[in-house]
């Protein structure tokens, strides 16, 4: 795909085929007159993307407010305990619920105890416009934790959703650049939150400032960031 296609809410999307996987920002209309005509429309403004087989389609745009979508990894703050589970703030319009048993190997007797204010890295297991989002701290297929769970220590930096998605890209240079300088643990949620942990407070601050700088100026190059890092005393 060479040229970028911009779509606005209501625009028809040329996604056709027997099997389609629609990502956030796209909607399938059910009452189209002819099944042959395109029945997928965009519900938000942004650039349209699809995979090489034209099966998966999604719309990408930058925003600051998170709208939960199923299977996305998010970082939440436990707001309060609710019976068997927890209510977690993931930055969306509504708090999400996290069941006390939705952890790897959790049972009635043995379940993790989270304090109010704890950070969790979780996967959105249910996102429906009429229901509260639900979270799970294990992988849907393997039922193993796969890195999900409570995030202890470290620091969390908020940024725009676009920056978060950029950081999640394995080809993005920032986290490897930082990781090459000092031991770094990081979790990126697509809800505009990045958690990281470095051995020293100065290094943690350096990570926070790098993410902030990238957020303010997404076109910052790796060389510029290197110079910036050198100017900091880590």
């Amino acid at each position: 795909m060479t040229d970028t296609v911009f779509v606005l809410p209501g625009d028809a999307v040329p996604a056709t085929g027997p099997t389609l996987k629609l990502g956030p920002g796209l909607l399938k209309l059910h009452d189209t007159p002819t099944p042959a005509s395109s029945s997928v429309i965009a519900t938000k403004a942004g650039t349209l993307h699809h995979d090489s087989r034209r099966v998966k389609w999604w719309v990408e745009s930058n925003a600051r407010r998170y709208v939960p979508a199923a299977q996305e990894g998010v970082i939440g703050v436990v707001a309060h305990k609710a019976g068997e589970g927890y209510r977690v703030d993931i930055g969306g319009a509504h708090p999400a619920s996290l069941d006390g048993l939705a952890f790897e190997g959790a049972s009635k007797r043995n379940r993790p105890m989270l304090k109010v204010g704890a950070l969790v890295y979780a996967r959105v297991s249910l996102a429906h416009k009429d229901m509260e989002p639900e979270l799970q701290c294990y992988d849907a297929q393997t039922r193993k934790s796969e890195g999900f769970g409570e995030l202890k220590g470290g620091f969390m930096q908020k940024c725009s959703l676009g920056t978060c998605r950029a950081l999640l890209d394995p080809a993005h240079w920032l986290l490897p650049l930082l990781g090459a300088r000092f031991p770094l643990e990081a979790a990126v949620g697509v809800n505009g939150r990045v958690w990281f942990k470095a051995p020293d407070a100065r290094q943690t601050i350096a990570v926070a400032r790098c993410i902030d700088m990238l957020d303010g100026r997404p076109e910052t190059s790796a060389a510029e960031m290197k110079l910036f890092l050198d100017s900091l005393d880590t």
């Binding site: 204010g117 704890a118 620091f155 601050i205």
Partner: protein, 283 residues
């Protein structure tokens, strides 16, 4: 949604770093974010940003009848409503203003109106009949901490940037001259009060000037000092129950004086730079 308290890791890290004299955004404890002032096309429209905090102040003037108690004075009114645009923490006001909004509005009122920065008598056009009503509207665009100082800076700069139309009184008749006819006049301003907010912490942690949003929510109390570059103290407000020694307060005041001088110069330069670009054409 009610404001959430920061998560445990955030809280612990900020306090731990502060124990080493470090702030998360890399500033020194008594370092302000560099304010940026941008002027709109009209007089009295100022956009002020402190880091990611952004506030717009716009002024408009209209002629009204003065209040019966103060026949020779103009009216200044401030409107500051915090909408959810600033941050998810603020709800659309369903009539009842939030605590943060009340605090900011009251401080702005004290600093900009009740400190007598504007000569209200100079706003009188025809005694008992016609006075100017200045309406300052604040728009809080983005909250990244310390909206008060940012709004105050926007407000006072807007007042100094504002130009009101020239009026002529012939007998009982008031003639308002259009800006194309006669150059609009600046307001009579006695002094330039500026506000500085410090976040105070317990356990002998240092006081922080211009706190970020996170620091603001984690601190045990704040102290806002409003003063001008001539070392005249206008307002001092201390919120939260942090015990402070008199010496410590005096020290913060001294820092305030120093910063007020710097900021006063910055406003002066920004205004001069803006007026250099404007051509006031008078026929």
């Amino acid at each position: 949604m009610r404001p959430l308290s920061p998560s445990i890791p955030e809280k612990e890290f900020v306090l731990e770093a502060l124990g080493q004299g470090l702030r998360v955004d890399g500033r020194a404890p008594l370092e302000m974010r560099q304010p940026v002032l941008t002027f709109g096309p009209e007089f009295g429209y100022v956009e002020c940003s402190l880091g990611k905090t952004k506030v717009i102040c716009s002024i408009d003037a209209k002629m009204v009848r003065p209040s019966p108690e103060r026949l020779f004075e103009g009216v200044i009114s401030l409107h500051s409503e915090i909408s959810p645009m600033a941050s998810t923490e603020y709800e659309a006001g369903y009539g009842r203003p939030s605590d943060a909004e009340v605090e900011i509005s009251r401080m702005l009122d004290k600093i900009l109106r009740r400190s007598d920065a504007i000569d209200k008598e100079s706003l009188c056009v025809l005694a008992g009949q016609r006075v100017w009503h200045l309406k300052l509207t604040f728009h809080f665009l983005s909250d990244s901490g310390n909206m008060l100082d940012c709004a105050c800076l926007a407000g006072i700069t807007a007042l100094r940037h504002f130009r009101r139309p020239e009026v002529e009184v012939v007998g009982e008749e008031v003639i308002v001259h259009a800006p194309e006819e006669r150059a609009p006049l600046p307001l009579a301003i006695h002094h330039t009060p500026l506000c500085f907010t410090f976040a105070l912490f317990n356990d002998s942690l240092p006081a922080l000037l211009d706190p970020s949003h996170l620091e603001e929510t984690l601190c045990a109390g704040t102290m806002s000092i409003a003063l001008n570059a001539q070392k005249e103290l206008c307002v001092l407000q201390k919120a939260g129950g942090v015990a402070m020694e008199a010496d410590a307060i005096l020290k913060l005041l001294e820092i305030g004086v120093m910063k007020a001088k710097e900021l006063d110069k910055l406003i002066e330069e920004a205004l001069a730079a803006d007026f250099a670009t404007r051509v006031v054409e008078v026929r």
